[in-house]
């Protein structure tokens, strides 16, 4: 480290994706982590166990995945930024309480380092089989934001952004990446964000008599009551009215659900983030996240050297899916290739949104190996003619 560098100067280091995730969380202000050992995400828990005590935070290894999701939400309800991390089997178990976080609008971050599935599947092999589960895993209509970093540096940055979005919008945020990126070691700069780059949730202020825990404010985000501040609010997983108490009044239920889901639409600009690589003049577009997106970048360079114009559309915020941006970029292309390490999930979104005359082609690999640039080069060439 440069001795003359300022306090917030970036530090260059060799670091693994999972470790970068833990450091990103701490940089974002995360001071509570509850987890359960699971391959290939365990390094996140191990890093948090070592780092949190240094900053006065709390790490706990819970008795199971369900409990670690519950403890994470419990800590957040207490007013502390909180995170948990897991992989497919654990992500399935966390869905119950993820829904609780969604309906109670409790900020929290859930990391899923994807491995082969279903069930125990291939614990040490990479996959992207949880793309749809991340969006639809828990029961009932619910809001969730899913961020899909594709480099070690981006894991760090997107973990920070995950906390900012969770706090700003009172929503669970999933950080989703595959085993390859989780275990990848890259040389990166990890910049400590300035205080103004970190979002703190809106706390209830003002007289208790006027406070309604779930009243829809103009920005659709209710102010949260911090225990101890004198509001003595009620939090429940039952559908509730503005007072926070259970209701089955059809009008109140409709208003609640409209706001619960609508708040993400309202803050669409804050949430959406895409990377566009050589898309303007491309004849063939590639839609990819994670490891296949890395392969796509190599493939595009190789193809362009041969005179084949390909481009990449990479949603960094995977869910809510950037429908308009994708349609705009895909319009006029000959085809959209969707390479993914599963049997076809992201491709469903492309098919649903495909502009007239644009062919959608899935490119799938589900044998526990990575999608390679060569596979993408071949697929693009087959579709460019």
């Amino acid at each position: 480290m440069n001795a003359h560098a300022g306090k917030n100067a970036p530090v260059l280091r060799n670091i693994q994706g999972n470790a970068a995730c833990a450091l990103g969380a701490i940089a974002a202000g995360c001071r509570f982590y509850a987890g359960y050992p699971i391959t290939p995400s365990s390094e996140i828990a191990e890093k948090m166990a070592a780092e949190l005590p240094k900053v006065g935070g709390t790490f706990i290894q819970m008795e199971d995945e369900i409990g670690s999701m519950a403890a994470t939400i419990g800590a957040s309800l207490g007013g502390v930024k909180a995170m948990t991390a897991t992989s497919g089997p654990g992500f399935s178990l966390k869905q119950e309480n993820l829904g609780y976080a969604a309906i109670t609008e409790t900020p929290c971050v859930i990391v899923n380092v994807m491995r082969g599935g279903p069930s125990t599947g291939m614990p040490t092999r990479p996959a992207q089989g949880d793309i749809m589960q991340a969006r639809w895993g828990t029961h009932g209509d619910h809001p969730v934001i899913v961020l899909a970093p594709h480099t070690v540096r981006e894991i760090y940055e997107e973990t920070i952004r995950a906390f900012n979005l969770a706090e700003a919008l009172r929503v669970p945020v999933v950080v989703l990446f595959d085993e390859i990126i989780g275990h990848l070691v890259e040389t990166v700069e990890l910049a400590q964000p300035a205080p103004e780059e970190l979002t703190e949730r809106k706390w209830a202020t003002g007289p208790r008599e006027e406070y309604l825990p779930y009243a829809a404010e103009e920005d659709m985000i209710p102010a949260m009551a911090r225990p101890g501040d004198g509001y003595r609010a009620h939090t429940t997983g039952l559908t509730h009215d503005e007072r926070g108490f259970p209701t089955q009044d059809p009008q109140k239920v409709t208003a609640f659900m409209d706001r619960l889901l609508g708040k993400l639409e309202r803050h669409h600009d804050l949430i959406e983030r895409n990377e566009l690589v050589d898309t303007d003049d491309a004849d063939v577009l590639i839609l990819a996240i994670g490891t296949p997106a890395r392969a796509a970048k190599s493939a595009i360079r190789e193809l362009r050297a041969e005179g084949v114009k390909a481009g990449l559309f990479r949603p960094v915020t995977l869910w809510p899916f950037p429908a308009e941006a994708f349609r705009a970029v895909a319009t006029g292309k000959k085809a959209v290739i969707v390479p993914e390490m599963n049997m076809g999930q992201l491709v469903l979104e492309a098919e649903q949104l495909a502009p007239e005359g644009v062919a959608i082609r899935g490119l799938n690999r589900y044998d526990g190996e990575a999608i390679t640039p060569a596979m993408i080069v071949k697929a693009v060439k087959e579709n460019v003619a």
């Binding site: 403890a71 419990g74 800590a75 957040s76 207490g78």
Partner: protein, 284 residues
């Protein structure tokens, strides 16, 4: 620390502790849960607990719904998970008094894993388990504490499964305070809960409640007063080693305090480790 500090000489008025705007409550006539709630709030009153610093965490079922009536920070969580939520809350906010209200199904069936590990971990949480022998909210299905031969909607020929002794389970799992009382003896129950809340570490209190409407009716156990009066006849009002023969149980149930142990509270121990790490040590 085991001392009980009485900071308020004021007479206990339950209305000071309730969200009266939510009345009438949802509980059936004769249900013992309201009595347990009264004893709990009375205990809080006598301990001089600040409502603003009181967190009630509950799960799902009849027991889970009782928390909402308390004028405090109340968290009605998912089925079986209140102890796990409470673990996160207490570690994040050691300044809060955290009390979990759970039921026999919530804590012994779906939440059994969280219960035994909460007992083992010894975080400063009080767990009040309302045992009414049945899943009342869902219509009267068999629970891990339903007595032998009792009829429920899922044991139409009578229950054939053995029951859990929740207190022995808690003791075996390492809870540093374990006790049991019936709802009949409200002052005794209040005193037990007071001691449990004041205890530094994990406290487990089983409250023998009664489900008159769903369970009692199906087993011809009589009205609530009849069930309670039968209890009274066989109860020996002694602390620590007394035994109460439950009229609707095949075996007498001991009540009182079974475990009262001083061992390191987990949250405090963790924070001490953090201080050592921050001073440059390894935390050991």
């Amino acid at each position: 620390m085991n001392e009980i500090r009485v900071t308020s000489a004021d007479k206990f008025d339950i209305r000071d502790w309730l969200r009266t705007e939510l009345m009438p409550h949802f509980m059936c006539p004769g249900c013992g849960h309201g009595i347990a709630l009264r004893a709990l709030l009375w205990a809080c009153h006598e301990l001089g607990i600040d409502k603003d610093k009181l967190a009630i965490v509950s799960g799902i079922g009849c027991s889970g719904r009782t928390g909402a009536y308390i004028d405090a920070n109340t968290f009605h969580t998912t089925h079986g998970r209140p102890l796990a939520f409470a673990t996160g809350l207490k570690l994040a906010r050691p300044d809060l008094t955290v009390i979990v209200i759970t039921g026999d199904g919530d804590s012994l069936a779906i939440g059994g894993n969280h219960l035994i590990h909460a007992c083992r971990r010894n975080l400063d949480i009080t767990c009040m388990m309302l045992n009414n022998e049945v899943y009342g909210m869902t219509g009267g299905q068999v629970s891990p504490t339903t007595s032998a031969q009792r009829y429920t909607t899922t044991t139409p020929a009578g229950n054939m499964e053995p029951v859990f002794d929740a207190c022995r389970l808690a003791e075996g799992a390492g809870a540093s305070f374990v006790g049991r009382e019936a709802t009949l003896q409200i002052p005794t129950l209040k005193d037990l809960l007071k001691e449990a809340i004041a205890h530094e570490g994990f406290s487990f209190v089983e409250v023998i409640s009664d489900c008159t409407e769903i369970f009692g009716r199906k087993n011809a156990l009589g009205s609530s007063p009849e069930m309670v009066l039968k209890q009274k006849k066989v109860m020996i009002p002694e602390r620590s080693d007394n035994r109460i023969a439950q009229p609707f149980r095949p075996n007498p149930f001991p009540t009182g305090v079974f475990v009262r142990q001083e061992r390191p509270e987990y949250g405090a121990a963790y924070r001490q480790m953090c201080e050592r790490v921050q001073k440059g040590g390894k935390g050991r």
